[in-house]
């Protein structure tokens, strides 16, 4: 009898302790899962970790008694390695939130795991629009851009400008396939035609064979459904084979500022493509980018992926603060994030939709000529803006189960 009473007391005491700990738990662990060594490491990588660090500092939560930890790891662009790390992070390291998660193949794999473990992923790096469509999840927010938006903005603009026949060079994995599929839909809808496509392995160094096939097709637009090092090598070799000089136009469906920097303006001039962030957009983006670049080892300006890590975390912290503590319940926190409007210095005012899609404007840029550029990193001319409510896939077309019809 005595034993039973003391056991009851102990149980009650533990429940109360756990309950109060839940309400006031002010610890957060952030994991930046990215490509630290491969072909996408300049646009995410160490810069994403730095952006996360800056978000933690700028949030001011430490002064309010929060304890925020940050870890990062290299997924090497391999979904199996990524899921192993992710599993370890959730089970052992108790990571609450995954940031960046570049590479569509990796992102889709981690997406499943995050849902299973009720953690959170704010994806700023992967492009596939499936993350908020067929494979949407209550635990995932897709922050910066996606293939539907890229296709919608760049694809439509190019067809309108007369580029009605297309040939695709497509990276042969989830991202390339999604980008080609979404762009094809837009091209066809706008009255254009796709006359051919060639799928190349990820991380190819030689594109001359593929470019020759694109050249022989006589398509007006050669669409590059690839990214990072694949895109820069394609552009460089396309100029060598006289693709643009021969009257075809090269369309960079996904290009990052780090790619333009690496190509140099002489080769990259005239390319048009879509981004949702550019360091030179306004005073706020300039101020952030200057601070960021000073702390980067190679003084690089932030890519939209890295900027997304910062802005995504700022909103996450805001939501946690509104909840008064960290419940360590992914779906619950994401629901709160969707409830609150987003407003940060890098992407401006926006919202997160029911399907997990973060909504903000998309900008169509053109790369400046060498003579127009006033200095290092002054690369883009703004030639058009798609308003936030038109940039992304409308909810009426969504196949996401979270969207009430």
């Amino acid at each position: 009898m005595k034993h039973r009473i003391s056991a009851l007391f102990l149980g009650a005491a533990l429940t109360v302790a756990a309950g109060s700990a839940l309400a006031q738990d002010k610890t957060v662990k952030i994991g930046v899962l990215t490509d630290n060594s491969g072909l996408y490491s300049d646009l995410g990588g160490a810069g994403s970790t730095l952006a996360a660090q800056m978000a933690i500092e700028d949030s001011g939560l430490a002064a309010k008694g929060w304890k925020i930890d940050l870890i990062s790891a290299d997924h090497q662009n391999k979904p199996d390695i990524a899921t192993t790390i992710a599993r370890q992070w959730v089970d052992v390291e108790k990571v609450d939130i995954f940031m960046d998660v570049l590479n569509s193949g990796v992102a889709l794999a981690v997406n499943n795991l995050v849902k299973e473990k009720n953690a959170i992923m704010i994806n700023t790096g992967a492009a596939t629009s499936d993350l908020t469509n067929a494979q949407c999840s209550p635990n995932t927010v897709h922050w910066v851009y996606d293939t539907y938006m890229l296709a919608n903005s760049t694809g439509q603009a190019l067809v309108k400008a007369g580029g009605d026949t297309w040939y695709f060079l497509t990276a042969d994995y989830a991202f390339g396939h999604a980008l080609e599929r979404d762009t094809t839909a837009v091209v066809v809808k706008s009255g254009g035609k796709v006359i051919g496509t060639v799928k190349h392995p990820l991380n190819s160094s030689d594109f001359s064979s593929f470019l020759l096939q694109a050249q022989a097709s006589k398509a007006k637009i050669v669409g590059m459904a690839n990214a990072g090092g694949d895109t820069t090598n394609t552009i460089k070799q396309a100029s060598e084979f006289g693709i643009v000089a021969g009257g075809q136009k090269l369309a960079g469906l996904l290009l990052f500022i780090t790619d333009v920097h690496s190509l140099g303006l002489k080769v990259a001039q005239g390319l048009s493509f879509t981004e949702t962030f550019y360091w030179d957009l306004n005073d706020d983006t300039r101020a952030f980018s200057k601070r960021f670049s000073e702390r980067m080892k190679n003084k690089a300006m932030p890519s939209m992926v890295q900027a997304g890590v910062y802005s995504g975390l700022i909103h996450y912290f805001k939501s946690l603060e509104a909840m008064g503590g960290n419940p360590h319940d992914g779906a619950k926190v994401v629901a709160k994030m969707k409830e609150l409007p987003t407003d940060d210095k890098l992407f401006g005012k926006g919202t997160i939709r029911a399907d997990g899609r973060k909504i903000h404007p998309a900008y169509l840029f053109e790369v400046k000529k060498p003579a127009e550029s006033k200095g290092p990193w002054d690369y883009y001319k703004l030639i058009g803006t798609t308003p936030a409510d038109q940039a992304f896939r409308p909810l009426s077309e969504s196949a996401c189960a979270l969207v009430k019809k």
Binding site: S37, G38, S41, Q213, A216, Q237, E240, S262, G264
Partner: protein, 295 residues
């Protein structure tokens, strides 16, 4: 049909890189018995060397073709003197592990400083004589547009390959070298400094890698991982051609480039794996490679 000719030519161009790189590997393996996994990293250093020469000193492509192989070759000789020479007589595995480690370190250092997306290096636009704009531009062959630079790469690599083959197989120096690897003690008795010869040979092999790096800089981005992406294919070339066989690696290099080019035309998805499928087939039929002698 025209497209097919074009793919054949493009394949030949890629083949010339494979040939140059596998030639250096074959020289090093044939003479030093070392499986040089650092070859890709040294190829990358050649490209970076050309970039630095241009950016820091204004020395252009033509001089880089000469200076970069010498600079990287000297780096290679220092490697050989300080590390590789201690492996003489040990199992191949030690050389492989050591050079693989060196490659990882070199690539890691470059990536740490220069990132992954690479640096620009333009096709040289001089000498400008009349309408001739250096190696820029291209010509219409009827069935394809051939960039002048690519044509230059094929011719230049062919010349270098044949010269190296001649040096090793037909000259007195080459004869000494081959003798020194067969029986170092005996050759030393003739008053020939064998360790110095070995060092110079490693320098030559490394210089060939750096030369290929300079050649590739205007075509590919100058990236820290450019060698890592290529080296596995080049190893397959050497294995198919027969480890250590000079002529074997030159011919296989060009042939594999062409086969890869054709795969890119008929079934692009398989272009990264076709070389390995071939390697498996060749090794099943001839375990010593196409021109290799049975060990």
């Amino acid at each position: 049909m025209q497209a097919l000719y074009a793919q054949l030519l493009v394949g030949l161009i890629n083949g010339s890189f494979y040939a140059l790189l596998s030639l250096g590997l074959a020289v090093i393996f044939g003479m030093l018995n070392i499986i040089n996994f650092a070859h890709g990293a040294l190829y990358m250093m050649g490209a970076f060397c050309a970039y630095f020469l241009l950016q820091l000193t204004g020395i252009g492509y033509w001089w880089a073709l000469l200076i970069a192989p010498i600079v990287v070759g000297i780096f290679g000789m220092i490697l050989e003197r300080t590390m590789l020479q201690w492996l003489t007589g040990l199992d191949h595995l030690y050389g492989l592990l050591l050079t693989f480690g060196i490659a990882l370190i070199v690539q890691g250092v470059f990536q740490n400083y220069f990132g992954s997306s690479g640096l620009p290096y333009a096709i040289p636009d001089y000498p400008q004589i009349g309408d001739w704009r250096g190696l820029q531009g291209g010509m219409n062959l009827g069935f394809m547009f051939l960039p002048v630079y690519r044509g230059w790469v094929v011719i230049f690599s062919l010349v270098v390959c044949i010269a190296t083959w001649y040096l090793i197989e037909k000259t007195r120096l080459g004869a000494n070298l081959r003798a020194a690897t067969e029986n170092p003690t005996l050759v030393r008795a003739f008053g020939i400094n064998v360790p110095r010869m070995i060092t110079l040979t490693y320098g030559l092999g490394v210089g060939l890698a750096a030369l290929a790096g300079v050649l590739s800089a205007p075509i590919n981005q100058v990236r820290p991982l450019m060698g890592a992406d290529l080296i596995i294919v080049v190893f397959a070339v050497v294995v198919i051609g027969g480890m250590g066989s000079i002529m074997g690696s030159i011919i296989t290099g060009f042939a594999l480039g062409v086969i890869e080019g054709l795969t890119k035309y008929f079934y692009p998805e398989a272009s990264n794996t076709v070389v390995f499928v071939l390697m498996v087939l060749v090794l099943l039929i001839k375990p010593a490679g196409l021109t290799g002698r049975a060990a």
